[in-house]
């Protein structure tokens, strides 16, 4: 009997073991991005920018040229790379909520507004993972973290920030969608969104961003399975899924 390969590691991932916690969805997000790079045949012309946060080592996991930006500055670094290399090369950033929507808010907004031809993968799990579970800009009202031990008090700490809703009115944005990684259907849809986002860049239409609702079992203090349910119950009502901007049209 001859063995037949029906599933294998995407070419766009290295064989380096992930450093993520059990149940963390970064691995799912990485795989989806890698599959899309493979399928669109982008790997050999792609340069990625990892953030500061749990995914600081992402440049080790993706089998593409890569660097790490200072905390929050990934899209500025991506801008420099893209402007230096021109439209022939593909540039993406991979950022968490603290990186993209707190310390890097200015860079996020201005990169989007310039219509910079780069793609951002934005992982929103409502908490700082790497530093040990502190409050993020996307932390839910009442949610307990190590720096909001009594629950996020919106009178004091403000409200969870909605990145897609903030960016959707900027004319430089070509593709903007919020997806979830919480079940197979969400994952299938997330991959479609990534494909459109990278296509927006390839077509030179402008800035593209895919926000992925994710989890953090370790810092939420929940099991992986519980955390999926918690995210569905608590995060999705606050962060509704959907396409906010689509100037790409149909993609195969």
């Amino acid at each position: 009997m001859q063995a037949k390969v029906i599933l294998k590691r995407p070419e766009s991932l290295t064989d380096k073991e992930f450093t993520y916690c059990p149940g963390c969805l970064h691995g799912v997000a990485h795989r989806l991005v890698a599959e899309v790079l493979d399928e669109l045949n982008l790997r050999r012309k792609t340069i990625m920018v990892a953030p500061v946060g749990c995914s600081v080592f992402a440049y080790e996991f993706f089998n593409v040229d890569g660097t790490v930006a200072p905390h929050g500055r990934a899209t500025a670094v991506a801008t420099g790379i893209k402007r230096a290399m021109g439209p022939e090369k593909t540039v993406f950033t991979y950022q968490g909520d603290g990186d993209l929507a707190a310390i890097g808010t200015a860079e996020t907004i201005h990169t989007a507004n310039r219509g910079e031809k780069v793609t951002t993968i934005f992982i929103n799990n409502a908490i700082y993972g790497m530093t040990g579970g502190q409050m993020a800009p996307t932390t839910l009202e009442g949610m307990k973290t190590t720096t909001s031990p009594y629950g996020r008090n919106v009178d004091d700490a403000g409200y969870p920030i909605h990145v897609c809703e903030l960016l959707q009115n900027l004319k430089g944005v070509a593709y903007l969608e919020r997806v979830s990684l919480l079940d197979p259907r969400g994952i299938v849809n997330a991959k479609k969104a990534l494909k459109k986002a990278f296509t927006a860049q390839e077509k030179g239409l402008g800035y593209s961003l895919v926000e992925m609702i994710s989890t953090c079992p370790t810092n939420w203090g929940l099991s992986p399975v519980e955390s999926l349910k918690w995210a569905k119950d608590k995060m999705l009502p606050e962060f509704p899924l959907g396409v906010f901007v689509d100037r790409v049209g149909d993609v195969k």
Partner: protein, 354 residues
């Protein structure tokens, strides 16, 4: 000999950068150097380059980081508060061993300070500035001609040593006009190649990684040891300094940049009165010409430092001289440029003390 052109300092430096092959500029307006981004916004589109006004100096320096990762010649300019904002990014650029050129047209500080010429960013420029054990190659021109020559030198040294370089100018140099002979246009194909490490997309090679990062302390220490080896090599090969009327000097002054230029007038005033004064003008303030100053201290009666600050380079002069001879200081700060007459008076007082 090429023709001389009458140009403003900021614009002359911008044009020199273009002629040296820079086709990318990221920056943010700040007085007294806003004419430089203005000039680049006019000129770069004419040479198929790309100008981008960033949303802040923080963004600008990270755009520089990104462009430098691709091995492309890139530079920016700013003034004191803006350079402070860039420090984190400069540290990353140094840590990732990337070539890039910075121009700081220094103004009075601290804080918002003022917009007049100053030399009060010397510590920041020469002792690191950002976090970590790193140095920039720091060139301090005293005339516009020297400034345009330093642009070329900064790019070349930065490429050679994979260490960012800084032109430490001041508001005087940025704003003054004088005739300059600009460098010839470089063929872009002749610029140094960085194919062995740059991020350009893999193509048919293995992946490249550029970071200033290693979570393993032993490995990071080894990286630092490598940087230090490069810095020692730069110290050996690239320390530059002008000695002006030092051959028979009985007294010496040390001054750099605009102050170094003004001191030449003071030296001439002194010589007219029969006083044997000489000048040591550091051209690189990092690496600093410790040896030249130390050797000179064997021959003169005192070594006075003159700065447009309360005495920052003074520390390096005292380090070089030790206790051999007196090391007095004269300076004005906050954007005040001392006149030759007041410096000469201060020098004469010092001669009486002796």
């Amino acid at each position: 000999m090429a023709e001389k052109t009458m140009m403003k300092g900021t614009e002359a430096m911008g044009e020199a950068a273009i002629r040296c092959g820079a086709r990318l500029y990221f920056g943010y307006p700040i007085t007294p150097q806003s004419e430089l981004p203005e000039y680049m916004s006019r000129r770069l589109p004419q040479v198929d380059g790309n100008f981008l006004q960033a949303e802040s100096e923080v963004a600008a320096v990270n755009m520089i980081y990104g462009a430098a990762c691709t091995g492309t010649r890139v530079f920016t300019s700013t003034s004191s508060p803006g350079f402070s904002l860039m420090m984190e990014g400069v540290s990353y650029i140094a840590g990732a061993e990337l070539p890039a050129v910075f121009i700081n047209v220094v103004r009075g500080g601290p804080g918002l300070g003022d917009i007049q010429p100053a030399q009060s960013d010397y510590f920041q420029a020469t002792k690191g500035g950002g976090h970590g054990d790193y140095h920039l190659i720091v060139l301090s021109p005293s005339t516009l001609q020297e400034a345009v020559e330093h642009i070329e030198l900064a790019f070349d040294l930065s490429d050679k040593y994979r260490t960012p370089a800084l032109i430490l100018a001041d508001g005087m140099l940025g704003q003054m006009m004088e005739p300059v002979e600009l460098p010839e246009f470089k063929d872009l194909e002749s610029l140094p190649k960085h194919d062995s490490w740059s991020l350009t997309g893999m193509g048919n090679r293995e992946k490249h990684i550029v970071t200033s990062f290693d979570i393993n302390a032993d490995v990071l220490e080894q990286m630092n040891i490598r940087f230090q080896k490069t810095y020692r090599e730069i110290e050996r090969n690239e320390t530059r300094c002008e000695e002006f009327m030092m051959d028979d000097a009985q007294y010496a002054v040390v001054a750099y940049g605009t102050m170094g230029r003004i001191m030449k007038t003071v030296v001439k005033m002194a010589r007219d009165e029969g006083i044997k004064l000489g000048l040591i003008r550091p051209i690189t303030v990092w690496p600093f010409p410790y040896d030249t100053i130390s050797d000179a201290a064997e021959k003169v009666e005192f070594m006075m430092t003159v700065e447009m600050s309360v005495g920052q380079m003074w520390e390096d002069v005292r380090l070089a001289v030790g206790k051999k001879i007196p090391t007095p200081f004269y300076g004005r700060t906050g954007g005040v440029v001392p006149t030759p007459v007041e410096i000469f008076e201060a020098l004469k007082k010092q001669m009486e003390v002796k």
